[in-house]
């Protein structure tokens, strides 16, 4: 379909300058995206390593491989690394950084130096966290619940908190950059109604980052103050209320779920259109649902606190509000499915991840209904049911979409394709491994197995063995793409500007793109995703 490409463009963003300094001081959004890609991938495998240790420990009921204190550090570090250093930056900071200016027809983000600063803040926060890993870890759980974190824990809470605090500002600045860029850097003719859906979802994500993250920052800072000076902001023995911390924490951390999953929605909206060659079914609804989720996500945090001392009436209100979120999420799933109708569906690697995403996110979303039902939550709260639920959203949803996006934009980033057969094989491995890992956890959860247990009674054994077996398949599924993608950098065939026949401004520049993306500022005259126009062009 696309003409055979025999050589890369002469000058592109990768060879525009050489040397370490040209990377570390770059303000090119594409190079910063690559910096993020490298570091976030490292964090992903670090977090995965912790996860593997957790799963290995849980293969047997007794705590034999790791001592409980080590186990507690492992699951905490797994959570912190995966959430703050992988899931939150993954799609926005890598894919978003790379394609947003191109999607908008701009030369760069509105604030390129701020973008680089974001990466340095991310690195600084990450180094604090790595430092904590080296000197002995932290064992509070990623939630840092007081008074355990502020008074009782014997681990490195303050250093970790500082790492999270700094990384939070990296996240805020990235979001701020994206919001301003979307408002002021759009090419002529690119109206809001013509924005790619990925832009809509990243815009929504950025709103959450700007408005939610500061509250986490202050909550973590207060925990640090309480721990360092032994004062009682939350400590009940000094008059504080530990539940207040939970309010502040979840005010950010529930919307943070949408920071992690909204970009995935955007990716899936792009992929489902490209690989079925069809404009999305109900563009306005899908776009609006992103904003709706971002705004509405701030009204529901109390559903993490049904079993705490939160009042029954507050719980009722939060439960009621929580159910509204089901509507925009449903809109998305239904519209993606309907987009396939009468399309031209291809089964290339990114599309397989998209199929996986739709299925797993549906399960993840529907099990959310279980948790928002207050009476049922009394039973499943803080059990493996919750663990399975959010892994279906975060891993089955976000990681699937992230891998799909990496495979989709890899040719744009590097100018080269990758072996599609291997890609499809890995996608299948990830899907199978994922379900084998996390489906048994739903069962274990309803059976009553609490989360964060280093040892557990015998009746949960079989389910945990299945889960650990699945985790090893999943691990292989994640390593395979790493290998063939690295291999493809030198050996794979060249991709050309638009290997998928996709629409969108980012596919109209060479692969890899030049430093300023476009020869001259493009002018948009079409509605978005007009696949039907292609026929004329091809003929």
């Amino acid at each position: 379909m696309s003409p055979i490409v025999t050589e890369l463009p002469k000058i592109h963003y990768l060879n525009a300058a050489y040397g370490l300094k040209s990377w570390l001081l770059t303000t090119d959004h594409k190079r910063i995206a690559i910096l993020y890609l490298i570091t976030v991938t490292l964090y992903f495998f670090l977090g995965g390593f912790f996860a593997l240790l957790v799963r290995l420990e849980l293969m047997t009921p007794a705590s034999d491989l790791l001592r409980p204190e080590t186990y507690n550090r492992m699951f905490t570090m797994h959570g912190i690394v995966m959430i703050f250093f992988f899931l939150i930056p993954a799609i926005p900071a890598i894919i978003g950084n790379f394609v947003i200016p191109m999607m908008l027809g701009a030369r760069d983000l509105a604030f390129p130096r701020l973008n680089l600063l974001s990466w340095y803040l991310f690195m600084a926060g990450g180094l604090f966290t790595l430092y904590v890993v080296v000197i002995g870890g932290v064992d509070t759980g990623w939630t840092f619940y007081v008074p355990y974190s502020s008074v009782y824990s014997n681990s490195y809470v303050v250093a970790t908190g500082l790492g999270v605090f700094i990384t939070g500002f990296s996240s805020i600045l990235t979001g701020l950059n994206f919001v301003v860029t979307t408002h002021t850097m759009r090419a002529p003719g690119l109206t809001w109604g013509r924005l790619p859906l990925f832009m809509w979802s990243l815009y929504a994500t950025s709103l959450v980052q700007i408005l939610g993250t500061p509250v986490l920052a202050i909550a973590v800072a207060l925990v640090g103050i309480e721990r360092i000076w032994r004062v009682g902001i939350f400590d009940p023995s000094l008059g504080g209320d530990p539940i207040l911390y939970q309010h502040l924490f979840w005010f950010y951390s529930h919307p943070a779920v949408y920071i992690m999953v909204l970009p995935a929605f955007g990716v899936v909206s792009e992929l489902v259109q490209t690989f079925s060659r069809k404009r999305i079914f109900g563009y306005k609804f899908v776009a609006g649902a992103s904003i709706g989720i971002a705004v509405y996500g701030f009204l529901v945090w109390g559903h993490h606190m049904f079993t705490t001392r939160q009042s029954v009436y507050a719980g009722l209100i939060f439960s009621f509000l929580s159910y509204f979120i089901a509507v925009p999420s449903g809109i998305k799933v239904f519209n993606w499915t309907a987009t396939l109708y009468k399309g031209s569906v291809s089964y290339q690697t990114p599309m397989l991840y998209t199929f996986g995403f739709i299925g797993l996110f549906t399960i993840g979303g529907l099990t959310g209904l279980f948790l928002a039902a207050m009476g049922l939550d009394l039973h499943v709260h803080d059990t493996y049911f919750v663990v399975a639920h959010f892994h279906y959203i975060m891993v089955g949803g976000t990681v699937m979409a992230y891998l799909g996006a990496i495979h989709y934009y890899w040719p744009k980033m590097t100018g080269r394709l990758y072996p599609d057969a291997w890609g499809r094989f890995a996608a299948l491995l990830v899907f199978v491994g994922f379900n084998l890992t996390f489906f048994p956890q739903f069962l274990a959860g309803y059976l009553g197995m609490p989360r964060r247990y280093a040892a557990y009674p015998e009746e949960f054994h079989l389910l945990n063995v299945m889960s650990t077996a699945g985790a090893s398949v999943l691990a292989v599924g994640y390593l395979v793409p790493l290998i063939y993608l690295l291999w493809s950098l030198r050996h794979a065939p060249l991709a050309g500007p638009n290997p998928w026949g996709a629409r969108g401004l980012e596919w109209q520049t060479p692969s890899p793109p030049p430093t300023f993306n476009f020869e001259k500022t493009p002018i948009v005259t079409d509605e978005t995703y007009e696949y039907s126009l292609e026929e004329e062009e091809v003929v």
Binding site: P68, D139, D241, I243, S319, F320, L340, T362, A372
Partner: protein, 347 residues
């Protein structure tokens, strides 16, 4: 392989019904999405690399359908879940009263008659049981899967849960809120016994005297009795008949004198002054342990006048549906010399 924990309380059945409904709903929707995606993906697979399908621009009717229908369904789930939650949160008035203290890393339980247990909890079959819980250190969560109940145990305040066991047997007791190194070791057993066996167990469990009696001794020893005299109300409000009643405060607000209020009044007496009294009581913060606080509360509870408690006191033995417990009446023994006019006067 089992997929459900034992169903051993009245609440467990209502939770399970909701669960089955949601499982069915999940299968229905996931199946629907899965079948549609599979069908579309096969039916409309790309046959020619150059093919370009005609656009379908969406349908307002379909969009409103898949906004409205899920909305109605989730509102139904909300209502159902809220009902179950409310029922599981509000104990019946005739419940047997137990006390639990969580600490790193054990559960300490105490019966009104003074029997103490660690990581064990014995309860009678068919009687509602209400548990008042607190923590000595960090947040824990008291979780009995077989009863489908879980409540966080929060330091500095009381939370409550209740259940009516419907099956004799031994069931898991877990700590569900991460609480430190031995979190997974903070587990135990709940034993449900036939009422007669339970009576036998109680009498054999070696109590040092009922909690109310212990509380009364403490009340004397800490010097509370010198001021809070029921015979000569003066500087301090008398304690008889207070528990469970509404108390008018100096700032005009009204509070119900429950466990939380009594606790606060001991630890932080100047926070809520009863109308008509001076803030003269010193704080007992740091001088009474959580155990002693519960004993004091049990004592003050025992001073409640008949028919005035809001929850859980053993004031109407006849009203308890199965197997009235003669032993329970002991809770309301003690110097219950209150008269109705006296109480009204204090309001």
């Amino acid at each position: 392989m089992r997929f459900l924990p034992p169903t051993a309380s009245t609440g467990a059945e209502s939770v399970d019904s909701l669960y089955y409904f949601l499982v069915a709903l999940t299968f229905l929707f996931t199946g629907g999405i899965f079948l549609s995606v599979t069908y579309f993906a096969i039916r409309y697979r790309r046959r020619d690399p150059r093919e370009c399908p005609r656009p379908v621009h969406g349908s307002a009717l379909l969009e409103s359908a898949w906004i409205a229908i899920p909305f109605v369904i989730v509102m139904f789930i909300f209502g159902w879940g809220a009902k179950v939650y409310y029922d599981l949160s509000v104990p019946p008035t005739d419940a047997l009263q137990l006390y639990v203290i969580g600490k790193q890393w054990m559960w300490k339980a105490q019966h009104p008659d003074g029997q103490r247990e660690i990581n064990e909890l014995h309860v009678p079959l068919g009687r509602p049981v209400r548990i008042v819980m607190t923590s000595q250190d960090v947040i824990h969560s008291f979780y009995i899967p077989a009863f489908r109940v879980k409540r966080d145990v929060v330091p500095g305040s009381y939370t409550t849960m209740w259940f009516t066991p419907t099956k004799v047997g031994r069931f898991h007791l877990f700590c569900a809120e991460y609480c430190g190194t031995e979190h997974s070791g903070m587990i135990g057993w709940v034993t449900v016994m036939e009422p007669t066996d339970f009576e036998r167990w109680l009498s054999g469990a070696g109590a040092e005297g009922s909690m109310a009696a212990t509380g009364e001794k403490l009340f004397q020893r800490l010097g509370c009795a010198g001021c809070h005299r029921s015979d000569a109300p003066g500087r301090c409000p008398p304690m008889t008949g207070v528990f469970g009643s509404s108390v008018v405060l100096a700032n005009g607000q009204t509070v119900i004198a429950d466990e939380q209020y009594v606790r606060e009044s001991i630890l932080n007496p100047k926070a809520k002054i009863v109308a008509g009294y001076q803030p003269v009581m010193p704080s007992y913060q740091g001088q009474v342990s959580e155990d002693q606080l519960l004993s004091l509360i049990a004592y003050i509870r025992s001073l409640a006048a008949p028919g005035t408690t809001e929850a859980g006191t053993a004031v109407q033995p006849q009203a308890a549906p199965p197997a009235p417990q003669p032993r329970r009446s002991r809770v309301s023994e003690g110097p219950t010399t209150i008269t109705q006019p006296e109480r009204r006067q204090r309001k």
